[in-house]
């Protein structure tokens, strides 16, 4: 079952779905921006710069999440030699990379007025920079190696290696002393973000997730068109 893969069937979905996702994304983003920029209160300590969080935190979450999915599919590529997995992984990478850059840049913009510095070489920020570099290596490996089999192999190795960095990013703030604050939203204990700020954060996360799905579907669709043009019915 895993070996069989019919581009035509998937193509039907990927060519139609984006416009619905786009529609949903615009609605959720408008509500999210409204909440984040105007309706939510300022913070008692950071005042209005807290609003950067509504972009920074979802971007960081998604860049970690998307890389994990890429690594998961890369493991699948190695084990099952399924070429469809490589198309999925390849199509996910660009938006993940963009989110890792957005997280770094917005963090820097927030850091200047809050900490008093644009950049600090603490464990969280450095490991996040390493994630962005892994994304870049991953994307470049697809560009550099013209031989498709080689590109699939090298890129999956990069994704699996890079995955080890993901728990390091997540737990860096607990394992070491860092300038970056520890997580406000925890699985086991109470979250330390007031609900009036948590709701816009949740809506913005939903919007960014929809955007990731949108870009992924469009990229995936392009990959399928490339295969169709080569006149292949299956990989």
């Amino acid at each position: 079952m895993l070996k069989l893969f019919e581009p035509n069937k998937i193509f039907k979905i990927t060519s139609k779905a984006p416009k619905y996702v786009l529609f949903l994304f615009i609605i959720v983003l408008s509500i999210g921006l409204m909440e984040a920029l105007f309706l939510s209160p300022e913070d008692y300590k950071q005042s209005h710069s807290v609003r950067i969080m509504y972009v920074h935190v979802p971007s960081a979450w998604l860049s970690l999440g998307i890389f994990s999915v890429i690594a998961f599919f890369s493991l699948g590529i190695f084990i099952f030699k399924n070429k469809n997995f490589s198309l999925i992984a390849k199509s996910l990478a660009p938006i993940g990379f963009i989110f890792s850059i957005i997280a770094l840049v917005t963090g820097s913009i927030w850091g200047k007025p809050t900490w008093g510095t644009w950049w600090a070489w603490d464990a969280r920020i450095t490991s996040m920079l390493i994630l962005a570099l892994f994304y870049l290596m991953y994307l470049l490996s697809w560009k550099i190696f013209q031989n498709q089999d080689k590109a699939i192999k090298i890129s999956s190795i990069i994704a699996i290696l890079g995955f080890i960095n993901i728990p390091i990013i997540k737990f860096s703030v607990d394992w070491w002393s860092t300038l970056h604050q520890s997580s406000s939203i925890k699985i086991l204990s109470k979250t330390s973000i007031h609900s009036s700020m948590l709701i816009p954060l949740a809506i913005m996360t939903a919007a960014f997730t929809l955007f990731s799905i949108l870009i992924f579907l469009m990229k995936y669709n392009t990959e399928l068109i490339k295969i169709k043009n080569k006149g292949l019915d299956r990989l």
Binding site: P41, E42, D43, Y44, K45, Q46, V50, M53, L75, F78, I79, F80, P113, T114, W115, G116, T117, A120, W121, D122, A123, I160, L161, I164, I168, W176, S177, T178, L179, Q181, S182, S183, S184, S192, I193, H194, S196, M197
Partner: protein, 139 residues
């Protein structure tokens, strides 16, 4: 269900990943001193020797410890167990205040005194509107 090849590949990947995780764990463990961004006053107390290198100390600015005279500011960093005196001249971040987190970078003169070259404010993980903060403060 799956062929022998698939099982072998799973085993191979499992071994590769385990080895990698263990080696990275060991590397990070041995580099711990460099991975931490700052030391607490207690860790400074327990230092074997005071080096002349730049060092960062993090903790809370002790209440009523900030003294400003002309262009020099003095305050105490505490981790509620030990304290370090800090003197500094230069610009301070807006969020620097008593009872809040701070990271001071500079040179240790002795185990009790840091002459800082840079002050950073450390933000904590609490986010709330001012009204809520006031209500909490009243309790």
């Amino acid at each position: 269900m799956y062929g022998k090849k698939v099982k072998l590949r799973v085993l191979f990947l499992f071994l590769v990943i385990t080895t990698l995780v263990l080696s990275i764990y060991l590397i990070l463990k041995s580099l711990e001193e460099n991975v931490v961004y700052f030391l607490s006053p207690t860790e400074i107390r327990n230092l074997a020797e005071i080096k002349e290198e730049k060092i960062r100390i993090g903790g809370m600015v002790k209440n009523q410890s900030i003294i400003i005279n002309s262009n020099e500011i003095n305050f105490i960093i505490t981790d509620l167990k030990n304290e370090i005196n800090v003197s500094y001249s230069g610009s301070i971040p807006n969020l620097f205040s008593e009872g809040k987190g701070v990271v001071a970078e500079g040179y240790l003169r002795d185990r009790n005194f840091l002459s800082a070259t840079k002050i950073l404010a450390k933000h904590d993980e609490n986010y709330m509107p001012p009204e809520v903060k006031e209500a909490l403060g009243d309790k």
